[in-house]
Amino acid sequence: MQFAIYNGAKRQEEMDSELIPILEMTDSELGELFFKRKLSLSKFDLRVIKDYFREIKRNPTELEIEVIAQTWSEHCKHRIFNGRILHNENNKMKVIDGIFKTYIKGVTEKIIKERDGFVLCAFEDNAGFIKLDDELSVCFKVETHNHPSAIEPYAGANTGIGGVIRDILGAGRGAKPGACIDVFCFGPPDCDIANIEEGVIHPQSILRGVVKGVRDYGNRMGIPTLCGAIHFNKVYTYNPLVYCGSAGIIPIKDIKKEVYKGLSIVLVGGKTGRDGLRGATFSSASLREDSRTEDIVAVQIGNPIEEKKILDFVLKAREKGLIEYITDCGGGGLSSACGEMLKTTGGKIYLEKVPLKEPGMKSWEIFLSESQERMVLAVKDENLKELSYLTTIYDIDCTEIGEITDTKRLEVYYFNNKVCDLESEFLHNPPYKVLVSHYRDNNLKAEITSNYNENEISNLFKRVLADINIVSREPVIREYDFEVQGNTVVKPLIGGLGDMPQDGVAIRVDGSKKYIGLGCSILPSYALIDPYNMGLSTLDEAVRQIIVTGVNPEKIALLDNFCIGNPDDSYELGRLVKCAEAISYVALCYKTPFISGKDSFYNYYISENGIQSIPVSLLISSIGIIDDKSDITTSNIKSGNSLLCIVGYTKKELGGSIYYKILDINGGRVPGLDPQLALKIYQQFYKCIKDRLILASHDVSEGGVIVALTEMGFGINCGIEIDVDRIIKEEDMSISELLFSESNSRIVFEIEESNLFKIKEHFKDLPFTVIGKSVNNHRKIIIKNKNNIVVEESLEELKNIWKKGLEVYY
């Protein structure tokens, strides 16, 4: 076997030393060359590459071409998010010097100045870090894995979750993953297969494959999958979205990592093969019908046990202080991992040392391979021996493959042949992209008055509760081990029977008195109408979810994950800009910094009937600190003898709501936000939690106040009585609008009657009111308008509707 590899490599050696004569090529020949290799670079990029090699007076090797294309790919350098945008709106044009710099990083920089010491590291490492207590930090990262999941759902989700866990393992000098989050957007599971083009997988199959993929990886890794969302909408039939995230714990002293001359570069984990070649470039292009057959080689199946062994090894090695620098091999493989690691110093890599799965691999294939379950470390020579001892305990491979230099050049060798010699300065500074965006309101935003028979409310209510985007996610949640590690104190399913929904979740941290709260929000149906208000709503909901769980509003950080269709389409880019504007405005007001994020473009599909694209799809994930165990609050009603209250204004904001979906109304006013008022509400609410006045609290979101209250009643054997007239509202709202409005920054909560006075003090000058009570003498939800009963339904029956909704499909 050894011999075979050697022979293969020997032949390769000669081929690899050949140069590609790009200097002698015309522009169109060069374009042809890149197109054939499936490398997505622009004409301008190619010219810059040619100029560089003309200057250094030689032609590039095959490996150099591949390294440049990978490093400059959208997946790795986020050139659209960093690019210059000429934004047109209301006949005016403004220049945005990078969406990322302007709306995300810029916001964080401003907040960091005011919130000293909370953000420990943002946008520099594999994940963002915040302070948990004086000793420990928590880091958080969310990734997308859309294209692989579209063509191979099980494996795509598998490697998606595997990749983001490695991000956490490679954060700082190695963080311990403690929670996973998974958010999916799929087409409707009941959609008619006849309406789907051949070659596209039915949403129901995607749902099943993706959930099993997450299950089989997350459960085996022993990391609880705690938090998530599934949104079904026909706009995702051709372009499903799969977001995978993970949060980890690390001592503050181990966040800082550095490389310097003299360190050895070590590759840890699985062997390298041809699998997953060009994943990074593949994910930076759109899908088309032939994607299934052509690109399927780019999707691998993960091996969670290999990664679990790496996890055990890395955490032990970090604990013993053996790691100076660590990063994961993700998109772009060694090329990306080493490229990032050696950016400031330079280094030498010897590819013949890399353990291979198969003989005869070319040097560029080894360097670019995205074989899963590998990490790259930089270690001191004196620690190599101990490191290698640890590998025998944990059964993993560990190979020295290179060294750090101070030449500021990436030098790669293959059997004494130099196959790459590029300056960092050139490699890591791709030309700026300039894009044009154009925003104009569509006609959908105008307010709509729905003339619906108010006698129908009960029926409509049941239809809202049975909507695919409202019904219980229990069948999926139970597939995930959300209890492993034994630290899940607020679970995704809670209440008397352990089956009612909870907004944010919370975990205990070994060695700390503080707890971590996690939440998320994604609202694509708002985005179809009004991307700006969608941005406001998404950020607000993500924050609110963990506020109602007991998180300190001054200790919240956010992740932004954008997915859009074609960024070269000025209309789509314009909607992204509006959304980014919105979240930057709210984040600044709430002082909730972004600490990490990711963007995914080209989520469109070229079908026989034209281009199928997606709306701006923004996932905001929130992470916050719960200072005291007693602050933890859950959403289930605790007693049949309490008052039920609401804080926040209810407005005629039903655009994109579940109610309008049921009525088949397209458009309307999407919920807006008064962030100053919302912040005040959250601050006062937190004071109530601190004073132990809140028995249960639930955020009002999709489905409106009626759904929120009903859900709160699913966990206890009591009834709910509400007077709809007491809700603080805008003028001219009908009863159904009041009940189903999805206005932001509203919280419904349960209190003891004896505490009403204190609560009123806290919410003085804020839109607070008691709207009803929980009772022991029946098990119904009764909604009255003054003295007329508008809804009277058995909670058991409603729960049955809600609980069974997804079971048909999963």
């Binding site: 969670p304 062994k309 139970r478 492993v484 034994g486 104190v489 352990g498 070994d510």
Partner: protein
Amino acid sequence: MEERVRSLLLKFPGTNCDSETDRALRTAGFDNDIIPINLLNRDMIFEYSMVVIPGGFSYGDYIRAGRLAQLELGLKIGDALFEFKEKGGLILGICNGFQILLQLALLPQASLTTNISGRFICKWVKLKIINRKTPFLYLLPWKFELPVAHIEGRFVTSENKANEYVDSGLASLVYEENINGSECGIAGLNDETGRVFGLMPHPERFLFYDDYYNIDKSSNERYGSGYIFFRSVYEYLKVGGKM
């Protein structure tokens, strides 16, 4: 100086409940060591009072849950484990550990196979003790709750042995609501000596009262039933094997 009660927690590649089980053992009073399988030798176990095989997916559980771990462990220290048991040592298998102990024949004949739903189930379950005369259960109330999380947890036997196990008290722990289709709802099984015990539910995940899914904030409880489980064994060993 007070004599310490030592436990050995075995770790395979793919074991993933080691740190919380270690925490549970320590909280209950044990002096616990986590030993990776590559460092294990047959003499080592005799220095301990109890050997624990925790939950997880040893070697990925791809062939059948626990199969590779059983082969590896059997080869390395199989006979020593039987000797250890005969000399009065305790052996506990939780979830994946239960699957491994059954295959090592340290427990009466039975198998754990795929849940009747074909799905992974992560859920809190109500449990009932049938036989309290085991070192692992004697301090617990007759009924208590613990979380389960498994895909291969359906207890099956040949020739209707499940009924025998219930009658003889070997099946000391059963589900109140049969979540996975186990024969007679069996959730935990011990051998004739009572010193070897395997169970599907995870006691280490209900160490503290806060771990419960429906907390009563006014309660002063500090510990959960998982704590009492480990405490039972600890008390038993501390007084030299008496209940």
